[in-house]
Amino acid sequence: MKKTLSKIWHWVRWPLAVLVVGFVVLVAWRLKLLYEQDDTNAAVAAIHANKLTEEDVFGPLPVEPDKVANDATLAGIDTNNNGIRDDVERALYFKYKDSAKEAAPAFQYAKALQMEFTSVYNSPTLVAVLQEESRASLCLLDTKKDEEIDKLVFDTDLRKQARDDLYNKYMTSYSLPNQDGCDLDPASLSN
């Protein structure tokens, strides 16, 4: 009996070892995916939590950035760290400075676009940013303004190319929000 068992063990030990190693690898791989998923979930939550504030609309305006320095990076210069590139913030301010009701949605859309440079590293984060862009678009309710702000944010060949590359790498199917567009209630803005 013992001899038989020994013989069986002789034959099965290596396949069994392979199975055990495979199982361990699978568990490690699965754990890695779960950790990554946790990170992604946190990043997606951060994107959706990145709302426009009154400070973004009414706070001090940054100075015009040096163009060379601003274009030296994809994200450009955002000295007041409000998620809107300084040159874009200034352009929108001077276009809508007479109406906060008009300026706020424009800032919100620009802020969402800027996240394509700062927050996208996989498909879920791209979708989250696209959903925020769409929400801001619902607040603007003027697709021509969308286009104008698109041109302000994606104003160099490298930025346009980077945008295309991001979409090409991470595009997937997704659904869009269709209500609660504005981060700041227009009724709460004085003019």
Partner: protein
């Protein structure tokens, strides 16, 4: 205990794959399917704009909008073959349809479902409809709506929107394809007018110019749907099988697409490929299959170890396009079909290469050249004085030319690039015993002393505002004409700043077989010209039983400020009447004769001239001169 542990462990592995299904009665889902050569970014933008316009106009916040992305393959080559097949009522593969189905399956949770297809996406919307009805969706719950559609029908009897100003559709019609007729007249906005095919973009043309119509059609279709057999637990339809065959194709496309996209020449390649698509379709419809055998071996695009896709005229071109695409699209594609569908792709690629061996800047390369974020945040300035010092007016705001469109790319003229195909096609399509069309026209007019007599107008009220029937074009001797007087779009007629169109015709003698020429010139002031056609009709063009054939849209043929001559000929071939049209060429041995809707018994007796100088007040101009015989 061990069993419970095993179950828990198994769940641990599969938990993320468990999806709680539902197919509820409330709400509805709109799936947008993009067209050929639409970039990922543009498809996303189209969906966002559709969603925004829908909510803006309807106030409906309960309808979900999702994208069923129709990807481009092998730098456009795969799409060329597929679209050529679809235009001819075939499909070489269900891979893209299945990809869309797999994408949307987990996101479709409402019983009411509307498929919105744009351009080539119209074919997929029909295919998706058929699949859905065969796999669980009730007929009453699914609708289809098409925009810029080259399809011959809308599945389920749905609505569609095709513009007379859609240059892509105009080109396809000019090639002889028959599909859904135009049902709206839209004029391209300035940005869109600069594109290779103005008037065809979903966002830039249809949604920009007729948002209410698009949204009304969608809303109306949604209202007509019924949420039969809704369920809070079941899925809306059975997903397609993503089995080994699908996965193998997916892996193949991943390699080929990456290789192709990695070397194609930037944004311009998309537009160039769009032109090539037109050429391929031209070749297919012309039946120029005889030369395919030579060209298929000459042309092409090949994957060399997934490292390069190059013009296959080079010696290293192995395997052939066919071998590559056969592997990618599966066994349903035969070499004969491939030859038939592609026809003269060789000339298309030769004259307008889809890809070239110029490296494209990748994101990784961009990253190395331009860091994503600044290395330092820079000084913070909250100084209003500094703001004043550097104040920038909106007009000075940083802007760059929009190169995401098609305006700045140098591409081959679609008409010009088909010439070689047409020439070679002649030798294969010419039946023995056919003859040349005589130089006889129903109407001739030098326009030297034009006073409108004998000419009539037609068209919608938008064309002529409150003065229907009044011909606004007049003869001029301003020196802008080719000879003496000519028709000139120099008179501003209003319509809110838009207008000065011609929709004019004159009836003369019936000519069973004949030919004519006319000269055309245009000038870009602000938006250029559109809807430029030359036709002959059996009967007045606005008569219900009129039969017309002509050049298709020739708005942007030739360079601006140069006179271009158009030749139109017709002859009988058996029971049908064939037509030929060419630019700056009246040699009928160069003709690629196309069958028409006219029978041999129907004799054209009317010449129709159509064209819009969009903003004559801003310098857009259009001239015609010397309508006569070759």
């Amino acid at each position: 205990m061990k069993i419970l542990g095993a179950i828990a462990l198994t769940s641990f592995f599969f938990l993320p794959n468990i999806v709680w299904a539902a197919c509820i009665a409330n709400g509805a889902t709109v799936v947008y399917v993009n067209g050929i050569f639409t970039t990922n970014q543009q498809a996303g933008s189209d969906l966002k704009n559709l969603n925004t316009q829908y909510v803006r106009i309807t106030g409906d916040g309960k309808t979900n909008f999702i994208n069923g992305y129709n990807p481009s393959h092998v730098a456009g080559l795969g799409d060329l073959i597929q679209s050529a097949a679809q235009m001819m009522g075939k499909s070489i593969s269900n891979f893209d349809r299945d990809t869309i189905l797999l994408q949307i399956h987990p996101q479709v949770t409402t019983r009411k479902l509307l498929l919105v297809g744009h351009s080539q996406g119209a074919f997929y919307s029909n295919a998706l409809y058929d699949y859905l009805l065969a796999h669980g969706e009730p007929k009453a719950a699914v609708g289809v709506y098409q925009v810029g559609s080259p399809a011959s029908s809308v599945a389920g009897g749905g609505k569609y929107l095709n513009s007379s100003g859609d240059a892509m559709l105009g080109t396809l019609r000019g090639l002889g394809f028959k599909f859904l007729p135009d049902n709206i007249d839209l004029v391209s906005a300035p940005d869109d007018a600069q594109k290779t095919y103005p008037g065809h973009s979903f966002s830039g043309a249809y949604l920009a110019e007729a948002p209410e119509r698009v949204v009304d059609d969608i809303q109306g279709t949604l209202k007509s749907l019924k949420a039969d057999a809704a369920s809070d637990t079941g899925e809306c339809f059975t997903a397609t099988d993503a089995g080994l065959d699908y996965q193998a194709a997916k892996a193949g496309f991943a390699v080929a697409d990456t290789a192709a996209n990695g070397i194609k020449t930037g944004a311009g390649a998309v537009q160039v490929a769009a032109v090539a698509a037109g050429n391929v379709l031209a070749s297919a419809v012309q039946g120029a299959y005889g030369i395919a055998g030579k060209l298929v071996t000459d042309i092409g695009i090949t994957v060399g170890g997934a490292a390069s896709i190059t013009h296959a005229a080079e010696p290293k071109s192995q395997p052939t396009n066919f071998d590559l695409l056969k592997k990618l699209y599966g066994s349903s594609l035969t070499k004969e079909e491939y030859k038939e569908l592609l026809g003269t792709l060789g000339s298309a690629v030769a004259t307008a290469p889809i890809v070239a061996s110029v490296p494209q800047t990748t994101l990784a390369q961009a990253d190395s050249a331009v860091p994503l974020l600044p290395s330092s945040g820079g000084a913070r300035h909250h100084n209003e004085g500094a703001i004043q010092d550097t104040e920038q007016s909106p007009a000075d705001a940083p802007t760059v030319p929009d190169t995401s469109g098609t305006g700045d790319t140098t591409i081959s003229d679609p008409v010009a690039t088909t010439t070689s195909a047409q020439e070679e096609a002649t030798s294969t399509s010419e039946a023995p015993g056919l003859h040349l069309a005589p130089a006889v026209s129903p109407v001739v007019d030098s326009f030297d002393s034009y006073d409108g007599s004998g000419w009539a107008t037609y068209g919608g009220s938008n064309n002529f505002g409150s003065s229907p029937g009044v011909i606004k074009y007049f003869a001029t001797t301003s020196g802008e004409c080719r000879s003496s007087g000519c028709l000139s779009g120099s008179e501003q007629i209003g319509n809110g700043g838009w207008g000065n169109p011609i929709r004019m015709y004159k009836t003369g003698a019936a000519v069973s077989e004949g030919s004519l020429v006319i000269w055309k010139k245009f000038h870009y002031g602000l938006q250029g010209v559109g809807n430029v056609w030359l036709m002959v009709c059996a009967g007045a063009p606005d008569a219900p039983d009129a039969k017309c054939e002509g050049t298709g849209d020739i708005s942007r043929d030739g360079g601006q400020d140069a006179w271009t001559r158009y030749f139109l000929a017709w002859r009988n071939n058996g029971s049908v009447k064939e037509f030929c049209h060419m630019r700056d060429d009246t040699d009928q041995s160069h003709c690629s004769w196309q069958p028409s809707s006219l029978t041999a018994e129907q004799a054209p007796d009317t010449v129709v001239i159509s064209g819009d100088a969009v903003r004559p007040d801003q310098g857009d101009r259009l001239w015609f001169d010397d309508l006569g015989t070759p």
